[in-house]
Amino acid sequence: MLEIKNLHAEIDGEEILRGLNLTVPKGEVHAIMGPNGSGKSTLAYVLAGKEEYEVTDGTITWENQNLLEMEPDERAHAGLFLAFQYPMEIPGVASLTFLRAALNAQRKARGESEISIPDFMRAVRSEAEKLSISMDMLKRPVNTGFSGGEKKRHEILQMALLKPTLCVLDETDSGLDIDAIRIAAEGVNSLRSPDRAIVVITHYQRLLNYIVPDQVHVMARGQIVRSGGKELALELEQSGYAAYGAEAA
């Protein structure tokens, strides 16, 4: 279970998260929705351990482990995966090299041996095919020259290969057309499992037509201000975020 209690975090001295509470049990998919500037992406970065964000109060635990005490790579070893809103381009490092380095680092942390190259290629080929990613694309440098949709699918591919137990998807739908959203959503849905918790951060309701959440939380001014079932997303689609102190998006 992911438990976030009274989380306060700031960047450059400006407080963004102001006492956020959230609980996501294993086996569930929770959506976090909210207007621009409500702190959704900050929450994602704080979960992953990005250095610029300073946590000034509160706790984050995953399966009773204190995530805030861990380095970003240790959080990944503990099962956390953040699908980035803006995946980084890494010129000069081929995707396949990157994927293998990540997979082997996590295996090593679990005390397992390195994956053999044939096993690795088999696993990549099988997952890439489901996401309509060509092997040629994976020979290119990480995200370099990828379209917006290719970058997002590449994130889902990493998630499928690394098999994290706590998945956080930050605006995975932004910049995607409807076909690309469907492919990405199918990738996420195939990871739904009783052993896994999934947090979907999104501005729009449409992604939730494909990834149907167990719970929806509304975030505003750095807090969760309302929680409910999947119907809450539809209500927000109707009424917008104005009730939560936001300009019309």
Partner: protein
């Protein structure tokens, strides 16, 4: 040296005197010393050296590489007979990936050709002669001595004064050389020494070949080398020049001439040698030529590496690209100087250069000096340079995927340098060079 010449010149500095003394002590034992014309040929080069002196920071082309400071001593010359005691394993010296590369090989150890370790003699369409043998035979020496020394080139002059061996290589027109050709110039364990070699390579029209020159010092040494390379019309040459050795100092000068439609793709790479000055003078003599140069330097501790290029567009419609990548750590210093000259009449020239440096410590330094001299009006030329640190966002991205910080840094550095190696067609060669990068990263 004549009295007249010394009279018009200031007294030699101690650094210069050491080279003059070295020559005086070995003159009678150098290959071809029994022939007066060989002696005269060496002494003409010695006079050229004496006139130029040991370069220092007030000499423009040597501003960032003060040889008086960086190479204050001169070591005893290797390559004289009887040969020095030496114990060298080529595999240990250059590392298994390069040693096991499927290639034709000419090996020189401590300034002497080693036919017993070489296989280049068997390559079809390729002829090889050793410089020592050529200098000692009255029928072949004239050919070596007919080339003129490039002006203001101290390295070529010194290599000419002290040369004890090297490769004279010619590739028959139209030959597609199946395997890369490795020219391996090693300085073995043992007493510190100076190695001086000269290579002369002629590529026939339409021939295709990959050349790999490797210079490596296993102990304290100085390697001074010059390479002359002429590329026939429509020939294509990949030319990797790699040097390493933590206590070795390398001064090399290459002069390359391209005929019409020739393609020349050099990769200059240095891995942590104590001192590297690698000059290349690339001249397009016929129209439609192409040269894509890439440089890669990986420097740690107090290494100093300087790649200095002159690309001379003497013919129209040629394209040149230069990309230099430097990773500089600790107190090291990297230098990239590239001058592109577009001569009158060299219209439709397309010349671009870029240097990127990754500075991994506060004391690391990188100096980039691009120069353009353009005497034609219908050309596209440009240059750029960047210097910076590892990108923290890229680092975070890798760590968020579980890659621990040291490995994430290494992966990013390897990727950064890898861009200089990306266009090497031969995958085994590229992998062997990448392995050198990894050795450096995880040393």
């Amino acid at each position: 040296m004549t009295i007249h010449q010394t009279a018009i010149r200031p007294a030699p500095t101690p650094a210069e005197q050491r080279f003059l003394d070295l020559y005086a002590s070995v003159a009678g034992r150098l290959p071809g010393a029994q022939a007066t014309e060989v002696r005269a040929w060496r002494e003409a080069a010695l006079n050229r050296f004496a006139a130029l002196g040991v370069p220092h920071r007030r000499v423009e082309e040597w501003k960032y590489t003060d040889l008086r400071m960086l190479m204050p001593d001169v070591l005893p010359l290797a390559g004289l007979l009887p040969a020095m005691e030496t114990d060298v394993s080529v595999e240990a010296a250059i590392g298994p990936p390069l040693a096991h590369l499927d290639a034709y090989r000419a090996v020189f150890i401590d300034g002497l050709f080693r036919p017993d370790l070489s296989t280049l003699q068997d390559a079809p369409g390729v002829s090889l002669q050793a410089v020592r043998a050529a200098l000692e035979s009255s029928s072949t020496r004239a050919h070596i001595m007919q080339s003129t020394l490039p002006e203001r080139d101290v390295i070529a002059a010194l290599a000419n004064v002290f040369v004890t061996d090297g490769a004279i290589l010619s590739i028959q027109p139209g030959t597609q050389v199946k395997k890369p050709i490795q020219l391996i110039n090693l300085c073995g364990n043992g007493t510190p020494r100076l190695v001086a070699t000269q290579n002369a390579i002629a590529i026939g029209e339409g021939a295709h070949v990959s050349l790999i020159e490797i210079e490596a010092g296993q102990a304290k040494c100085q390697i001074i080398s010059s390479t002359r390379l002429s590329i026939g019309a429509h020939a294509a040459v990949r030319h990797v020049r790699l040097n390493f050795g933590e206590a070795s100092k390398h001064l090399s000068s290459a002069a390359i001439v391209l005929a019409e439609g020739a393609k020349y793709d050099p990769v200059q790479m240095t891995v942590n040698a104590a001192l590297t000055r690698a000059q290349a003078n690339i001249r397009f003599e016929g129209p439609g030529g192409r040269c894509h140069y890439s440089g890669a330097m990986m420097l740690r501790r107090r290494s100093h590496a300087d790649f200095t290029l002159l690309v001379d567009h003497a013919a129209p419609g040629c394209q040149s690209r230069e990309l230099a990548k430097a990773v500089v750590d600790d107190h090291s210093r990297g230098v990239f100087q590239a001058k592109v000259v577009v001569e009158r009449g060299a219209q439709k020239t397309d010349g671009k250069q870029m240097s990127n440096a990754l500075l991994l410590s506060d004391e690391a330094e990188f100096d980039s000096k691009p120069e353009l001299e353009i005497f034609a009006d219908d050309v596209v030329c440009g240059h750029g340079a960047t210097a910076g640190q590892l990108n923290e966002d890229q680092l975070f991205y890798l760590r968020a995927r579980g890659v621990p910080e040291p490995e994430a840094r290494a992966l990013l550095v390897a990727g950064f340098i890898g861009e200089a190696l990306d266009n090497i067609e031969n995958e085994d060669l590229r992998a062997a060079l990448q392995e050198k990068v990894n050795d450096w990263l995880f040393a």
